[in-house]
Amino acid sequence: MKMVGVDVGGTFTDAVYYDDQSGELAWAKAPSTPRAPAGGVLAAMDRNGVDLATTDRFVHGVTIGTNAILERRGAPVWVITTKGFRDTLEIARTNRTVLYDIKTLKPASLVPRQRIIEVDERVLADGTVLRALDPDAIRQIASRLRAEPPAALAVCFLHSYLNGSHEEAAVTILRAALPKWFICHSAEILPEMREYERFNTAVLNSYIGPLTARYLSELSRLMRSRGYRGAVHLMASSGGIETAERAARFPVHTVLSGPAGGVAAAIHLGGLVGVRNLITYDMGGTSTDVCLIEDLNVPLTSEQFVDGLPVRTPQIEINSVGAGGGSIAWVDTGHILRVGPRSAGAVPGPACYGKGGVEPTVTDANLAIGRLASSLKLAGTVALDESLAEQAVQRIVAVFDSLDVPRAAEGIIRIAVARMVSAIKEISVSKGYDPRDFALVAFGGAGPMHAVFIAEELEIAHVLVPLRPGNFCAFGALISDVRHDHLRTHRAALIDRELEGLEDAFVQIEAAARSAMTEEGLPAGDVSLQRSAGMRYVGQSWDLIVRLPAHSSDSVALAALFHAAHERRYGYRAADPIEIVSLRVTAIGRVAKPKLSEWSITGALAAAQQGSRQVWFAGNRCNVPVYARDRLPRDARIAGPAIIEEMGAVTIVPPDWRVAVGSVGELHLKRGAQ
């Protein structure tokens, strides 16, 4: 079986190709083509020499929806909502995330007030109907909208997560009357209480719906024209994949999927090499994504935001900071050296790219002290100019008497590292995890260059660098299974009398989950189901999602599971009564995936060395040997300082650290001489 994974980033499109007959894994990068993204995807595959006619699987990580939201380029969305609640989106939660600035503005709603239409219907908090929906009112709205150019629409009624009949009835009429429109309703996107977050998630879905559908149909057309006959799968924010057809219906599932592939790949690698607690550190040009993985479980959350707007579908819990290789160092009015959040981006890029940038970036700092070299070409295309990097860093030196170029450059890197360290503390220490219990998995173009310095600050003893760290996300797309999350609001006190309906409810959800998988073409034998429930102590506002065994309606057993989960997460258990607020079923459909082959390079370590260069570490200049990663022999051990170069990335091993090549070519960096 032949398969290809493609990840579209802001600057580069990465592709990974795998043939399970030969066990061959191939990698390529091509410049992204934001104007015709589907074309860029095909170009990246061409560079890999992929023959689509003989390819069986294609998995794709996309950022088209995310970018449309960030750049506010989505479709015009109309909203039909409950009378009295037309301003739910604009009112939002009223909080202010930026303090001490009188000119801060609330994030703008995606829907202008003129496009919000109220309907006199009302469902109450117990699911009963106070005022029934009048179908004629919907028909009138439909005929009014027929006069508008086809756009997108979201039907958002109160308490639809409990009683969706009004939303469904409205959608049936609207879909029939407006066949060219993208239409969804809030309960089908997220059947969960809290109208602001639910409505907003549905609106985001509609906002990026037409664009995503257009892109996917263009991509499918191009691929079919080259003879591809398999399914097109998309990476979802939940860390699973889903078919293009499903993603076209629920494009909001892909909104935070960019970094998801890397997390999936890290979990895969951790399983292969037997390291079960991981912190991923994915550093690119403009941003860095970190994620904490305990016991190889995907950490899921539904409380993330895109550009200030909540998205409440299940997503991998990833913390992003606006700091990357392109982050600019500057001196603020208080005479303090700062790095980011402004970035040189792809244009002009860091000063050393020679494309007109003059301000020093993290990449320039690395080049100025030898951690990068002008002999390297980033992604094989961009040449680096050392003197331009030094000139840029000189701008900082000019401000501080106490610094010279090497000290300023190391300082810029240390400050950037401090920001990453903060980001990792937010997902570890702040949540009750000790980072020392985790290994750091470093990838992305700039990750392996800074990983050890981050590990030092957090006292992490073990750093893992996968092969081709720059293509790790694309690889992650290929090793992910199909995943669907089904959710239903179901309130019940944790007493046997109220749990009678539980099993029936789960069975119904599971039936729906199985048939959705069948629709995606997965044989029943490859599908597994996992139940869980949102539970809380009565009186608490937020629920905790607890995994449940199949067929358990025993209140004592369920309570024990909840108490334990609560204690793990929040550090205590209470004697209060417990309630269930939602039921969830996660369906996983297993797919064929690549196997990382054993690292087979043999020979002398010396044969892998390709020279040496002067590099600064902690104010000292060292002569550091440089190795080609592709020629490192199996089980090789090198004491730092050392530099290991490969396509698209550089791994830095400072003095007092050592590195060993692992069984599938991964690098293990550890503290201490040996």
Binding site: G84, F85, D87, E90, I91, A92, R93, T94, N95, R96, T97, L99, Y100, D101, I102, K103, T104, K106, P112, R113, Q114, L124, A125, L158, H159, Y161, M193, R194, E195, Y196, E197, D332, T333, G334, H335, I336, R338, F400, S402, L403, E410, G411, R414, I415, A418, R419, S422, E426, V429, S430, G432, F453, Q540, S541, W542, Y570, G571, A618, P654, D656
Partner: protein, 702 residues
């Protein structure tokens, strides 16, 4: 890696250590959220953490509520004064005294002295809103308290732990004086967990970088924040700038505004905020401490002059505060102090009024000016338990040079608080139905940049009898506009029963109003003030506001002078005619110097503008009506018309302070603009259904 430090800490270590200290505060916050049980913390984020050095200076915080953390140094100082040399490892100090750096009594503060050997080096602190601290009403606040004893249990700095040993007597005393004592124990445990976590982290930091290095970094960081603030202040023209505004007090049911007066002196790189002339304290919920007022002063200065950058005590150093003792801005026993939010916000208002005179591009129109906390409690028969509804709906923000103010968005002094709940959560948890929750049309002050809109929220009681209370301000005297911008709509509360909307007798303030099933309370939060002359707003933007429904067609005509055609497009001719007409209708009269005190009131003080009845008639204003005068300075001077046939004819008599507010001299012409209010000074709201008993207003159950 080598962490050895040069004697003069290098800029990189400095940044890394400071970042680490903020991370300590972040960890404290996470620890509180993890352990807490109260929706005030879970849903609203109403708590704050910070680190203090041994000189009681705040050295680190992290996106914490400015209204909490900025007054905290006063508390820390008071505690250190009280215990002097009697603070030891293992001591934990508890306090909530509104007179000594506290805010309202609900905000309880825990201080945890951290020692290196026997040297006190740092104090992590948590200030957290407890849902109840005793007092007259559930929730411990009410708009009509007359002394602090009605507001709850007052705790001066006391040792909850002494050398590691808990003082059980203190705990029992607290439990005996608060509602739901079990929950209070939980709140306290959450706070204890946070400060203990902070101690551990700090010790590690000291171990890694050395205590002296960390302390030196802190000292440098404070100095740098100070230098940064001073360099910003230095850009302002030196001089003294004055402004005045009001809080809304009812003296035995009669409206009696109290005066807040500020003289802001900018001298070189420092400022002095002198509140001389502010009202003596009154037996009503309009007083607060200088600590709280200082927070307002700081927030206004920082968020206009120097947005961004670290917030710590260094940035506060250039500010000197002065205030008369036992006044509304420096309250003493035993006056009520529950209105800390309103007093802080009014301090922001007078600061903006002064700053508008020196940096008009940096300020905005007045903010909605009140936190508007509402509560309702009762018993839910269906679920067989008690419930408390609590929301403090945000209002509008002022317009500013570049943009319209945001609508229904908490003000800059209020932190990252979520001020309302989702309707679905509320309806699920208690017997109420949210009938409506929408933007309040025409509530934003008109201006070249419009003020943000307030919220209109209608909530129906679907259960049996319940009790409703509210503590608000800006319910009579609306937020002002600047640069010719108009006032916003004030807060409104009414109660609908049997199809009739009845406004509160004392606008914005009520204690224990009893509601019956199907009564609806209607909350209208205030808008933000306008910025710049509304007649200069681009007509197309007015048309867009009308099309979106933010502004009514009537208001477009009357406030903006914009006429629209039947398709909602700007009618160019009609608009220029209307604008010419409105410009022509502006009334201006010359000012004459009159140093006779312009203030009247019962216990309060409000400015009166004396004029003959003939003049009033000509200007179209009524006796006792609120008006504003617009002079050279951007912010207006408010006054109430007093008909006085002895007043000079066809001029505005103004004292020196009034002239200074407007930036005018005798002989200059100033403009007068009328403002509608629901009630005038000295007036009791006429309500046929109400009857008085003693000094309290009661009314039948609605």
């Amino acid at each position: 890696m080598n962490n050895a430090i040069d004697p003069a800490v290098d800029p990189i270590t400095l940044e890394v250590v400071c970042e680490s200290l903020i991370a300590v505060v972040r960890e404290m916050r996470a620890s509180i959220i993890r352990a807490s049980y109260s929706p005030v913390i879970y849903e609203m984020d109403d708590f704050s953490c910070a680190l203090f050095n041994a000189r009681a200076e705040m050295v680190a915080q992290s996106n914490d509520h400015p209204g909490h953390v900025m007054p905290m140094p006063w508390s820390v100082r008071c505690a250190m004064e009280d215990f002097e040399n009697d603070i030891h490892p293992g001591d934990i100090i508890l306090l909530n005294d509104s007179y000594r750096g506290g805010t309202h009594l609900n905000d309880v503060t825990l201080l945890y002295p951290v020692f290196a050997g026997d040297r006190l080096v740092m104090l992590p602190a948590v200030r957290s809103h407890w849902a109840d601290v005793g007092g007259a009403t559930p929730g411990s606040y009410s708009g009509l308290s007359t002394n602090i004893y009605q507001e709850g249990l007052r705790m001066p700095p006391i040792k909850l732990y002494e050398r590691g040993q808990p003082n059980k007597a203190v705990m029992r005393l607290i439990e005996a004086n608060m509602r739901l004592p079990e929950d209070r124990k939980g709140d306290l445990n959450a706070m204890l967990g946070a400060v203990r976590a902070a101690e551990q982290r700090l010790n590690k930091l000291f171990g890694k970088y050395g205590l002296d290095t960390v302390l030196e970094c802190l000292a440098i960081n404070l100095d740098r924040s100070e230098a940064r603030m001073r360099s910003r202040i230095r850009t302002l023209p030196a001089g003294t700038y004055v402004y005045e505004d009001y809080l809304e007090y009812y003296d035995e049911g009669r409206f009696d505004p109290v005066l807040m007066r500020l003289a802001l002196t900018i001298a070189g790189d420092g400022v002095t905020a002198d509140f001389a002339g502010s009202n003596p304290q009154v037996p009503g919920v309009v007083n607060s401490s200088l600590a709280v007022v200082g927070a307002g002063v700081f927030v206004a200065l920082k968020s206009t002059l120097d947005p961004g950058g670290a917030v710590n005590q260094g940035a506060f150093r250039p500010i000197t505060l002065k205030a008369p003792e036992a006044s509304i801005v420096d309250v003493r026993a035993d006056a009520p102090a529950g209105a800390h939010g309103e007093v802080r916000k009014r301090a922001v208002s007078v600061m903006l009024g002064c700053l508008a005179q020196v940096a008009p591009d940096l300020v905005s129109g007045d903010l909605c000016g009140t936190s508007f906390p509402n509560s309702m409690g009762g018993r839910d028969a269906r679920r067989n338990r008690s419930y408390v509804y609590y929301e403090a709906p945000a209002g509008g923000n002022g317009g500013f040079a570049e943009a319209d103010g945001s609508s229904v968005y908490v003000n800059v002094d209020f932190g990252n608080i979520r001020s309302i709940h989702n309707a679905e959560s509320l309806e699920t948890d208690m017997p109420i139905v949210v009938e409506k929750s929408e933007l309040r049309v025409d509530s934003g002050g008109a201006g070249r940049m419009r003020g943000g809109l307030g919220l209109h929220r209608e909530i129906r009681l679907a259960g049996e009898e319940a009790v409703y209370s509210v503590l608000s301000d800006r319910a009579v005297i609306p937020p002002y506009g600047v640069g010719g911008g108009a006032s916003a709509a004030p807060v409104g509360v009414s109660i609908r029963a049997n199809g009739q909307d009845v406004p509160l007798l004392t606008p914005g303030k009520a204690t224990g109003v009893r509601l019956r099933r199907d009564a609806v309370f209607i909350l209208q939060s205030a808008g933000g003030g306008g910025y710049g002359d509304p007649l200069e707003r681009e007509a197309s933007r007015v048309a867009a506001d009308v099309s979106a429904g933010y502004v009514s067609e009537d208001c477009a005509r009357s406030a903006y002078g914009v006429a629209l055609d039947h398709e909602g497009r700007v009618a160019e001719r009609g608009t220029s005619n209307l604008r010419a007409q409105l410009t022509g209708a502006i009334v201006r009269l010359p000012v004459v110097a009159d140093e006779f005190s312009p203030y009247e009131g019962i216990k309060g003080r409000h400015r009166v503008l004396r004029m003959r009845s003939a003049t009033a008639q000509r200007l179209g204003v009524l006796s006792n009506q609120l008006v504003e005068l617009l002079g050279r300075h951007p912010a207006p001077l408010r006054a109430w018309i007093k008909i006085d046939e002895g007043a000079p004819a066809d001029v505005f008599p103004l004292d020196a302070f009034g002239r200074q507010v407007l930036g005018v001299a005798a002989g200059d012409a100033v403009r007068l603009r009328g403002i509608e209010t629901p009630i005038a000074p000295g007036e009791r709201r006429r309500d046929p259904g109400a009857h008085e008993i003693g000094s309290r207003i009661r009314r039948p159950i609605i």
